[in-house]
């Protein structure tokens, strides 16, 4: 099943007369890391949730290849800004997702634990993990079943530089493994390090969409200029 190109056409999203997303148009056909950036309240997370299917799309304005979001739901996963883990051990958390995705359970779980180098916390209850460890477990849960698309909502915003670096290299590896990544980020240096494509939102509207290199040279727009200078 082809999931690219992803196409969003004229999507708007309003909550109680407040237009969160305005006339969104996106076209992306490469398996690269696409960063969704913008200032606070610009609609980044809402856009990500919409793409993942957590917000209904009654007008079917999004297509993945020739499919609608509901048809490829099992091929995607999402990591949230505040990792959501069950009150179980690391292993059991990953196993839970494996069971729900009907993949070869224990084998896959052990492979992913090894891949993300989290063997030392595999028997630790999720409640006792640090922020960085929780985020790694959440990523482990998101990659089980080899999803074709992963959405990451500011996955490193609350992490120290060491964990940030670790998570970034995991994300880069995933991208090389043929997974399309959509990731929101505030951090301009992170965007420079791992971003390839960027969609920049301002007050719910896309004001830039293209290569990160082009974005970084775009000095004509004040919002983008300030974002690059102070981000």
């Amino acid at each position: 099943m082809k999931i690219l190109p992803i196409k969003i056409e004229n999507f708007s999203y309003t909550v109680k007369d407040n237009e969160i997303l305005k006339n969104i148009n996106i076209f992306s056909e490469e398996k690269k890391i696409t960063i969704i950036a913008g200032n606070n309240g610009s609609g980044k997370t809402t856009l990500l949730k919409f793409m993942h299917g957590l917000i209904d799309d009654p007008s079917n304005s999004i297509t993945w290849g020739r499919n609608h979001t509901s048809e490829i739901k099992e091929k995607q996963s999402m990591v949230f800004q505040n990792p959501i883990l069950l009150n179980r051990t690391t292993f059991e958390n990953i196993l839970y997702v494996a069971k729900k995705k009907r993949v070869n359970e224990r084998n896959s779980v052990n492979k992913i634990i090894e891949k993300l180098n989290i063997e030392s916390i595999s028997k630790t209850d999720a409640r006792y993990l640090s922020g960085g460890e929780k985020q790694k477990v959440a990523i482990a849960m998101s990659i089980i079943g080899n999803p074709k698309i992963i959405f990451l909502d500011e996955p490193t915003s609350q992490l120290d530089p060491v964990y940030k670096n670790e998570i970034e290299s995991i994300i880069s590896d995933l991208s090389k493994d043929d997974t399309k990544i959509f990731m929101t980020s505030h951090d301009i240096s992170q965007i420079k390090r791992i971003g390839e494509e960027i969609i920049f939102l301002d007050k719910g509207e896309i004001i830039f969409s293209g290569r990160v290199k082009e974005f970084l040279n775009k000095k004509t727009n004040d919002v983008i200029k300030n974002y690059i200078n102070y981000g």
Binding site: L54, K73, S77, M78, I84, L86, Y96, V97, K100
Partner: protein, 227 residues
């Protein structure tokens, strides 16, 4: 005088007095039966209400919360009219039997267990909403996960129901009739023995009730720590 009463009461307990044991056994049988029936109905139902949020759900929660505060004697009276010979369930012929007492206790604690279950599951669902929906799970699968994740809280809810049922006197007195060796339970026996001045057995039963309450509190406290 008090020391004499206590001495006799402890004596009844430690010599495993036959009447005492019979009353305690029936009390536990009635309460446990009501609790099991109530939990089987209420926990899935409370969780179901969280997942299927609509107008009906608000009404059910409102009714459930209202019934939580219903005086047991009124509930006893309602059940009495329903199961008495002229009542619509008179054909069941359960008035003044342990079955009627089980029905009364079940109806008494079900609203409590439903409301508390709803609250616990709702709190958890708010935390897991994005995660569970992200996995594209069926509502049944979400329901199972939420109940499992709330397991300690739900044991506390169950114990709260047990505490409420075991301490109840009004409704079981009305529908059970407090018949000796047949429908006499701890609470009705305490009321009856006290009224006829035979306070030793009442005190012994009171001590057992306090002990049960103490054990429940201890379990709830330790489960809260785990939670």
């Amino acid at each position: 005088m008090l020391s004499n009463i206590l001495e006799t009461a402890f004596n009844l307990i430690f010599t495993l007095n036959e009447d005492l044991i019979e009353i305690i056994s029936l009390s536990l049988k009635v309460t446990m039966s009501a609790l099991v029936i109530s939990v089987i109905i209420s926990i899935p139902f409370g969780a179901f209400l969280v997942l299927y949020r609509n107008k009906l759900q608000s009404i059910v929660i409102l009714i459930s919360n209202t019934l939580m505060g219903m005086p047991p004697v009124v509930l006893g009276l309602i059940i009495y009219t329903l199961v008495s010979k002229r009542g619509i369930f008179g054909f069941l012929d359960i008035l003044y039997t342990p079955s009627a007492m089980i029905v009364a206790q079940t109806l008494l604690i079900t609203p409590i267990v439903v409301s508390l279950t709803y609250e616990e599951i709702y709190k958890k669902y708010k935390d897991y909403y994005l995660f569970l929906n992200s996995l594209n799970l069926s509502n049944f699968s979400k329901l199972k996960t939420l109940i499992y994740e709330c397991r300690y809280a739900l044991i506390t809810v169950t114990l709260t129901g047990f505490g409420r049922a075991s301490a109840e006197v009004g409704a079981v007195m009305i529908v059970g009739g407090n018949i000796n060796h047949f429908t006499r339970v701890m609470t009705t026996a305490i009321a009856f023995e006290t009224s006829k001045g035979s306070i030793e057995l009442a005190v012994a039963l009171g001590l057992i009730l306090i002990l049960i309450s103490f054990i429940i509190t201890l379990i709830i406290k330790s489960l809260r720590k785990i939670k």
